[in-house]
């Protein structure tokens, strides 16, 4: 099934972009284990991430969105197909330059906020002065200065997710993959976190891929949105939002935002019904 490409704003031209990461013919099939039958979770999927874009993937529950992210990150190998990041194949491990933020709380409970953020840098043997500088910046950027000495258990869900984003940020990744990072947060916090994510994206110039089931989140944050089918997840449509780079959550009140979300829902409704019938939601 070839994915159709829809431009939601024809008047904003898109310059020829450089490819940053690419998936070609990727499938992921989980083999049968004992009495558990095998599952064809993903694909075949073809996907191309452009340098510096904000790309989102939406799809019904259980459609293989997280599997797609795992395969792209190198956390799991594709059954078939090829994954390439910055021109080099991704095989069996996460290449340097990729950062991942997960939905679940991934802050280390035994470390303070500051030590959590510095963890990756210290492990790499980064010069302590540089660690201090980058961690200080990340604490300020994510609004965590007052909580540097606190432990994750003392923070709210939103603050803990900021810690995880900050821990990714200090590693200066060129490709940031986010797996439903705001899934566990309330609606208002999600909007504000979205603003911060956009700010982070603009400041770092990194390519961002966001996995989400929230259509409004994808519509507000993204340059492009891929819509996935119910399992096995395939990309049914790619949609260009046409938003300017300088944007924030206020665009949620624009008519164009409504057009994007209704277009997404139109494509997703049937797939979501299929997923629900299978017990995916």
């Amino acid at each position: 099934m070839a994915a159709s490409v829809v431009k939601m704003s024809a008047d904003r031209s898109v310059s020829t972009p450089m490819l940053h990461a690419e998936m070609t013919g990727v499938t992921r099939i989980y083999a049968a284990k004992g009495k558990t039958p095998g599952v064809h979770a993903l694909g075949p999927v073809d996907l191309a991430l452009r340098q510096g874009e904000f790309f989102s993937v939406v799809g019904p529950s259980g459609c293989g969105k997280s599997t797609l992210l795992d395969v792209l990150a190198g956390l799991s190998s594709p059954t078939e197909g090829k994954v390439v990041f910055e021109g080099a194949p991704v095989t069996g491990s996460v290449p340097p330059g990729i950062g991942v933020v997960f939905q679940e709380n991934a802050a280390f409970p035994w470390l303070s906020v500051k030590d959590n953020i510095a963890f990756g840098l210290r492990r790499e043997g980064t010069d302590p002065a540089e660690v201090e500088r980058r961690v200080g910046y990340a604490l300020g950027f994510m609004g965590l200065e007052d909580f540097a000495a606190a432990y994750p258990s003392q923070l709210s869900g939103g603050m803990r997710q900021r810690v995880c984003i900050a821990r990714t940020l200090v590693m200066q990744p060129r490709l940031i993959l986010l797996d439903e990072p705001f899934g566990a947060l309330d609606a208002q916090t999600r909007l504000l976190m979205g603003d911060e994510l956009l700010k982070l994206w603009r400041e770092t110039g990194a390519t961002v891929m966001l996995i989400t089931h929230a259509l409004d989140e994808a519509a507000m944050l993204s340059d492009r949105i891929a819509v996935m089918s119910a399992r096995p997840g395939r990309i049914m449509e790619e949609l260009e939002t046409g938003w300017p780079k300088e944007r924030d959550s206020r665009i949620a009140s624009e008519d164009h935002f409504g057009q994007i979300t209704s277009r997404l829902w139109k494509r997703l409704r049937e797939e979501s019904i299929k997923a629900t019938a299978r017990g995916g939601a």
Partner: protein, 249 residues
């Protein structure tokens, strides 16, 4: 002190006071139980004149050796079983029924194997503590959130660094519980083993005092063991609480 702490202290004071009154008032014969104040005074005397110093040192050395063995062997076995699911499935029923085995029945065998020295006693203490540590280690490793292991992969950490920097601290609360149980069980094993297969140590001294109708020494030693184990547990409990509070577990 918290309200619960006050009630707890009051309960202990009341129980001790009631026993004191019952003994002093003749409700309980001194041939059965002596007043707690006499136990404490005699214990103080035994500690001052050094009568029981050698026994204390011997028992604590035995317990320490049993605990070190139980914790280290238990941790290694737990980690191995966790990494080999088939072996674990095979061994699981033995672990579940382990504490139904009366180890003391094997003491003649242990004496034949190790001779009349501290080793059979340490072995009994070790056998009592080791499985608590194995089970706690497996529980701790089972409960490491998969997302932390994924984070380790994203940070490019190999198996050794992941084990030392992620798995170990993540499983630490369970390992702590295992160590606490191993200490308690090893104490029980060592003291009880000293009763039946030793010629020194606190367990032996209690049995000796009992056989000699020396109630004052017997109760003084029993009081000492209760105070010692309570103190060790209280310290471990407070340490655990401090760690747990920080981690929010």
């Amino acid at each position: 002190m918290s309200r619960a702490g006050t009630i707890r202290l009051l309960f202990v004071v009341l129980c001790v006071g009631a026993l004191e009154a019952a003994c002093r008032g003749g409700l309980i014969s001194p041939q059965f139980v002596i007043p707690p104040s006499v136990m404490a005074a005699h214990l103080w005397q035994l500690l001052i004149d050094g009568t029981i110093t050698a026994d204390i040192v011997e028992t604590l050395s035995n317990v320490l050796m049993a605990v070190i063995l139980a914790v280290s062997v238990g941790f290694v076995c737990g980690a191995v079983l966790h990494s080999l699911p088939r072996l674990r499935r095979a061994v699981d029923p033995f672990l579940a029924t382990y504490y139904a085995v009366p180890f003391f029945a094997f003491y003649p065998l242990l004496i034949v194997i190790f001779g009349l020295n501290a080793l059979p006693i340490v072995t009994i203490g070790f056998l009592f503590g080791v499985v608590a540590m194995i089970i706690s280690t497996i529980n701790g490793l089972d409960r490491i959130p998969p997302v932390l292991l994924k984070t380790a992969s994203v940070l490019g950490m190999g198996p050794v660094r992941t084990a030392l920097m992620i798995k170990l601290p993540s499983a630490a609360p369970h390992l702590f519980t295992g160590t606490k149980l191993a200490i308690a069980y090893s104490f029980i094993g060592v003291i009880a083993a000293e009763f039946i297969m030793s010629s020194s140590g606190l367990g032996y001294s209690i049995a000796y005092a009992f056989n000699s109708f020396d109630n004052r020494t017997m109760y003084a030693l029993m009081l000492f063991i209760i105070l010692l184990v309570t103190l060790i547990n209280a310290v471990l409990y407070m340490w655990e609480q401090a760690i747990m509070q920080r981690r929010g577990s």
